[in-house]
Each structure stands twice: as C-alpha cells, then as structure tokens.
Subunit: 513 residues, 2 copies
Amino acid sequence: MNGADALITTLADNGVTACFANPGTSEMQFVAALDREPRMRSILCLFEGVATGAADGYGRMTGTPACTLLHLGPGYANGAANLHNARRAFTPTVNVIGDHAVDHRQYDAPLNSDIAALARPNSLWVKSADSADAVGPLAAEAVAASFGAPGGAACLILPADSAWNLTNARGPVIEPPRPRAPDPAAVAAAAQAIKAAAKPVLLLGGGACGEAGIAAAGRLAAVGVRVLTDTFTARQARGEGRFRPDKLPYFGEAALKDLDGVDLMALCATVEPVAFFAYPDRPSVLVPEGCATLTLSDRGTDAAAALDALADALGAPAAGAVEPYAPPPAPAGKLDAWAMGAAIARHMPAGAIISDDAVTAGLPIFTQTRNARGHDWLSLTGGAIGQGIPLAIGAAVACPDRKVLALTGDGAGMYTVQGLWTIAREKLDVTVVVFANHAYRILGIEMGRTGGGEPGPAASRLLDLSDPRIDWVAVAGGLGLPAERVETAEAFDAAMARAMSEPGPHFIEAAMR
Amino acid sequence: MNGADALITTLADNGVTACFANPGTSEMQFVAALDREPRMRSILCLFEGVATGAADGYGRMTGTPACTLLHLGPGYANGAANLHNARRAFTPTVNVIGDHAVDHRQYDAPLNSDIAALARPNSLWVKSADSADAVGPLAAEAVAASFGAPGGAACLILPADSAWNLTNARGPVIEPPRPRAPDPAAVAAAAQAIKAAAKPVLLLGGGACGEAGIAAAGRLAAVGVRVLTDTFTARQARGEGRFRPDKLPYFGEAALKDLDGVDLMALCATVEPVAFFAYPDRPSVLVPEGCATLTLSDRGTDAAAALDALADALGAPAAGAVEPYAPPPAPAGKLDAWAMGAAIARHMPAGAIISDDAVTAGLPIFTQTRNARGHDWLSLTGGAIGQGIPLAIGAAVACPDRKVLALTGDGAGMYTVQGLWTIAREKLDVTVVVFANHAYRILGIEMGRTGGGEPGPAASRLLDLSDPRIDWVAVAGGLGLPAERVETAEAFDAAMARAMSEPGPHFIEAAMR
C-alpha cells in the first residue's frame, strides 16, 4: 500500500468513514485510494467551506470526526471560517490538507504557503506527515487529538510524496477518550452554594444540551433552579418529551435584565457569558454585579453525569417536567419568521434536525418550535455566517434516517451557496429554507447599537441585498434542487407540509415582507 | 471625526478610493463613515473571496492599492485564498479587518480569533490600530507597506472602539515608492553573458510584462535573444502592436524540452522556474543541466528600464517587431476552447482586459488571441481557483472605459459565484464566460501524471461535475445577469459579437463537448 492507503485505512479503522472533499493535483493519490477502501464515503463539495461545515455537522451529530480533504493552504483557508465555527462548537474533525512533495516545498512553487501557520489558530493539533511511513501513525494521532476533550480540529498535512510512496505502516486503532467523570467536590460545592443562594441560575453550554444533559437539567428545574443555556449551543435536544431551559438573550442589556438579582451563576460545560460584540458604554461581561460564579463542570467533563450528581445532591426527583407536543395553529396571512416557525413546528417529524443560520429569523422560529416533535437544534456557534447549508449536509450524511432542515438568511446562504449542489447530488433528505428579506437585516439593527447613526446612501447600500433581488428559485434550481417560492404564511405551511412528508431535497424561498 | 473617519480620509488622501466590502457589526462605524467621504467608492461583495480578488484585479490594473473591508478572523479567512493569489501577483492591497473593541478581546467572544496569525502568511505587513489616534497614521503606513517593492497585502486590524472613538489624527500623505533603478553592473554582466552564450534565454516575470517591459523585451528579441515569460503572469500586455514572447510551458517536462540546449537563463522580475507541482521521478527545477542563470533585475527593480538598458548594451534597435492585428477566421462547428479563442480574438475591442481562470481552456484561448487587438491578460498567479470573476470586478472598477472578459472553468467559477451579483449590481462592463465541461478536467489529466492510475468509481465521482449538471444560465440569471447558453462555435461567435458591442454585464455559458 502507499501512504494514501495507509491514511484512509487507518481513518476507517478508527471509525472515520465520511470524507467531505475538494481535491486538487496534490491530493490525487488520496482520491485514487478511495477506490480501495469501501468503508470511506467520499462526498464532493464545490467549495471547501462546504466541506468543513459538513464535517462540523457530521461531528455534532455523531460525536466522532468526519474528515475533510483540502488542497494546500488556499484550500484550507477557504474552509477556515466554518472550522472557526466548529472550534466554537468543540466538534471533532480531521482535516487532511494536501501539500507539495517534501523536496518540492523548498522551491516555493505558486501554491506553496505556510499551511501550519494558517491552520494553527483554529486547530487543536497540526502535524505534517513527511514520509509515507509517518502517515498511518499520524492519522491515528489526529483522530485521537480531535476528541480533545473537548473536541476540535486536527489538521494532518499530507505531502504528495508521502501519499504516493509505499509503506507498511498502518496506524493503530485508538480508543476514543471518554469524558472525565464529574468532580464530587465541585458537585458538593455547587449544591451547597445553590442552597445558600437567594436567586441561583444554572448556565449550560452546548456540551450539556444533549438528551441526557437536558434531562438532568430538568431534574434541577424541578427543585426550583432556573436553568439557562448559552445563546448559541452546538446541539440542543428540544421539543416533545424534553425539558425546556431558557436561552440567554443575545443582546447584552437584555441578558443582564434577565439576570437581574441573580446572586449565583453555576456553570456547566461553559464559561462566564460575555457579549457577542462590544458596544460603546455597554458591559462586556454578562454576569450581574454581586453575582458569584462557580464551575460545576468544565467542557471536558461528562456534563450529564455532573448535572445528575448535582440533582441527586439537591434531592431532585428522578425526572423533571418535559414539554408536550403542542404545535401552534396553522399560520395565516403575512409571511414572517413567526408564521414560518409555526409551520415548521406543525410539520417537522420526530427526530428532525435543524441547522440554524437564519440570523434575525432564528429566534422566532426557535421560540415557535419549543412544543414541536422532539428534535435537535444546531446553532451558529462562531458567528461566521455561511454555516447553515454545509452543517445540514453533514448532519444528513450522519443521520440518513432523519429529516434535516437548513434555515438560512439570504445573506448567509450566499456564503456557501455551492452546498446546494452537494445536497442535490447526494439526494440528501434536506429541506433548505432561505429567508429572503433582501438585506443584511441584523446590520441595520447593529448600526444603531454601535453608534453609527442613521445610515446614509453609501452605508445603506452596504446593508442592502435588494438591487438586484436574488432569484433563489433560479439559483437553487440551477444547482439541481427542486425549488419553490412562497409569499404567504398559508403557502409556506403547505410547502413545509409537502417537504416534510416527501423524502429527499427540497428548497423553499420564503419571500418575506 | 472618529477613527473610522480618520481611516477612510487617510486612505482617500493616499489615493485609495475603492473599497470592496463585506461588513459586519464590528465594521458599522467604517460603513457609516463612508457617507462622509465621497472620494471612497464602496462595493458590496457577498463573500469575502470576491472582495479580495477584486482588490487584486484593481491593483493589477492601477498599480495602487484598493482596500477591502473584512469581518474579523473568519472574514479574513474567507478572503485569504485570493490574497494568496494576489501575493503571487505582487499586487498592493490594503485590507481593513474589523475586530472586537480592544477591551473586549480578552473575553474571547465567539467571533474572536488570532487575526494577526491568520493574516501573516499572506501579508507583507500586519498591524492593529489599538486606539483611535493610531488609526490614521497606521492607515498611511499600510498604504506605504503595500507597495513593497514588490507589492503585497497590508492588513490593518481595526478594533471597533478605535473606529468609534474620536480623534484628530489624520494620517500623512505618503509618497508611493518608485521601483529601484536597474543596477548598471548587473546589466553589464547580463550583456556580457548573453553575448558569450550559445543559446541564451531571457525569462520575464509578471512585473516585466507591462507595456514598457514588453516593448523593451521586443528590442532584445530583435538582436536574437529568445524571450520567454513565466507560465502565469500577473498582467501581460499582448496583441496588436505588442511584442509576443513565448510562454514557459506549464508541465515541467514540456518546459525542459523547450529549454533543451539553453546554456544561459537571464532572469528579469522573476526567479528560477520550478514545476507547479511535483510528480514522481520528475524534476522540480526547470533549468536545464549545465544552464547558468543570472539575475538582470529583481522584482523590486524597474524591469522596463533594466530591459532597455540591456537592449542598449547589446546594440538593439529602438523598437523590435510587434504583432499585427490578424484574428483567426470565424470558427465553425464544434465548440471547444480553440473555437472560443477565435471568437474572442475576433470581437474583443482594443484595450480589453482578460481575467483568466479558465484552467484547461486557458492556453488555447491565450494562443488564439495573440493577434487580437491590444489587450491585457491577467493570469491565475497562485493556483487557487476562484479568482476569475472577482479579478474581473476589480479590473472593471479600475478601468471603467475598458471591456473586461472573465474566463472561468465551471469548477473555478463555482468557487466565487457570488461575484456575479456584484457585476450585476454595479452594472460593470464585464462579460463572464463559463467553460462548462462539467468536470474538474485538469484533475483527470493530473491523476495519471501523479501515478494515481485509472480512476475507479469513487475517484471518478470526485472529478466529475455532471451529476447534476449546473444550469449556469439559471444561476447567473438568478444573480441578476443577462445570461445565455451556446452550444456551437457559430453561436458562441455571435454571442461574443453582441457582448463586445453592447456595454454592461453579459454572461455566456459555453456548453463544451
């Protein structure tokens, strides 16, 4: 076998069986080796930001890494923004970055760059396999490194000659690390502090929002502890049969108002909350004055176990209250995010996965779906728009039996619009909804908050997407998706009913008013 | 004024009057300040790779920097691949990267990242303006740094509070550096070596391929010196009235065959040529054995002056032979790159600018246009596909009175397809031609050369774009461009005739067989 075989076989041996790829010349051996390893499913993405976002979505749903195949420094850079989001989601990913042959690097050919330097800011682990014999062992090391804990990006640089040279060195099968058990002293301290506090809250990070963590948090709510989650969680179990925590508001002043009087904040799988952006004369840290904070468990600890231990210590019942299935009534009239949220809540089946890159439309839909069928909600964790469509691809590859909805603003959707083609090619069970408000609407809000004042003609033009209006049905159709435009709440409800009952790709342009 | 005003005014004072932007919350003050500085033209791009590629195209045409406006680390990363290409083109650019307020950085909010570390590999200069008073002076320093010489990317990190705080510190007006005068000793040594050599060649880099450099190189050809250019030049004056040098072949073995017997290679604004990629058992360095090399002038030197001095030393006439206007006959039948090249050569007007991201279709069109009207040809300098459409945007903004053609493969075109919208919005005089062969065709060739063998089903699927076929007319139309598909040479010729005679945007999908 050659180094490329050693790589792919070692990855597959370690359970890495999905590869989101955009290869180039330096990766041809990797591509050729895919025909010799049937366990690896390779999925072509027409831009690397789609590949990395898909790996994030896959990892969020499975807890294990997918791999990406990227073409030297520029290929990595194209994927870096969604790896930034994945870093904030603590998602394990293994990124194979092709490079020039080792001896060729010294000549600084046009595609040469400092790949390791580019990759380091978003990575837990970056190494280069500078011989064929090194490839297999480093592949196993990369998988191990990606788990963290918490998880993150491992980047394996693969010089072309390390891929084409022969080797016998298959990498070992590693044991995926288990999260640390909770620290009994921290649990006891948290229990004592909560009992002593007048108005305690428990803040959950994404790692505590899986099915077990949410259930344990529900037990704590049953004994009167207010439970909140971070504003953006990597994956959150919600809907029918799940406990519903509150969400920390996005804008800092709203968060502080919500936390008014709180004298204790217990943190589980997160850190002290801070404002997403700074604004003139507004605080950065979202902990009220006089409020103590303590850490029940960090991001590397088994959050559900820590929450259960805390619930036990507080004498909580075995199960807390959960949400019933109680969708909103059929929406009518004006097509806004509230109406769309109602339609989504009415029609999405149990086990649906929502990838949220909907920006200003996200919160109304999040609110409307709280009594929908049980589902997982994946948020934009790092603030780099263009995550929604790619993440949905990865989630659909990871969970082929579940409906996936990608909710995206029009500005965000354009960032990684190439992903629509991959959804069509792979016939993924993904319904993409684009909220076509023809603006970067969030920036219209932020302009005032940052003190920019009323935008004049030049500024307005940078926030506006209406000239020309994007015909999303044409774009999505041109990329191979069955697409329709709806302009009323009733039409959206009907389109959602169809999309949720028919398997395979769907695209809905929601023409918002 | 605030820091944002100081920035934009200082940039405009220094001749930086085009801003290719995709702003976010942290850049709102910059956006607001655009309304107070009418000299700055701001152009919205729906993805940062479009913005940076446009700045590259602008800089190649004017020799001076445009600026980009990018949103923190992910915004920079999205633009990094085209800044990689710009680095290889030695194009001056000033990239304003918004960041969190200085005091807010410590809290590691979701969009926080190590911007300087991300930017450094592709930049000549990276600094952060950590107070409003620092902004203006650093803006002037960034402009100065971008000139090099040779030119490159200057990245100015702009924390939000440095933009919103007040200041009186406008930056100075800098004197753009002039290229160094040629070294008389190097000129004399080159003249002597060329006279003594049996088979000398002169190799020109992109910096020697402007109108004056090409004219001076033609004088050298007139006294028997064979003149070649690098395979990919940032900008080359060609066609009617210009001297036509040969181009160093892309594949290394073809280059070495072409250079067989050459005993002296004189370098002007370039370095010893190397293969674009390494291949098993093929050389990296493209200098024949026994061939001496010497540097007439480096990339920071006035190449035209060096070439003229060398021509004088060799007793060359005041002007060499130039190409006549002699376009190929009207093409007929099969629509291939040769036919398209003929049509382009027949119809493009004097002063046209060609942005070439056409991959396998590029060389036939380059060959066919050698006797077209005088034009400038901009190559993909760094190998990161997705440059063609953005570069054309920048060239069109820089040169509103010239026709611009963006030639792009379908794989390359998908990378920065968002640029089509900006062409439509700004009503730029750009004709985009997509070569729709529904494949990464170059990789089909490279698979064999890298020893990958005959691709099986898995490998083939990663090189193929035909399932589903992209309907480019739908995509381009959806993004606001008048678009048509042509399937024969005659139809392409007719479409090109129309596009070249009517100002404004055009889009042609060339359905290749």
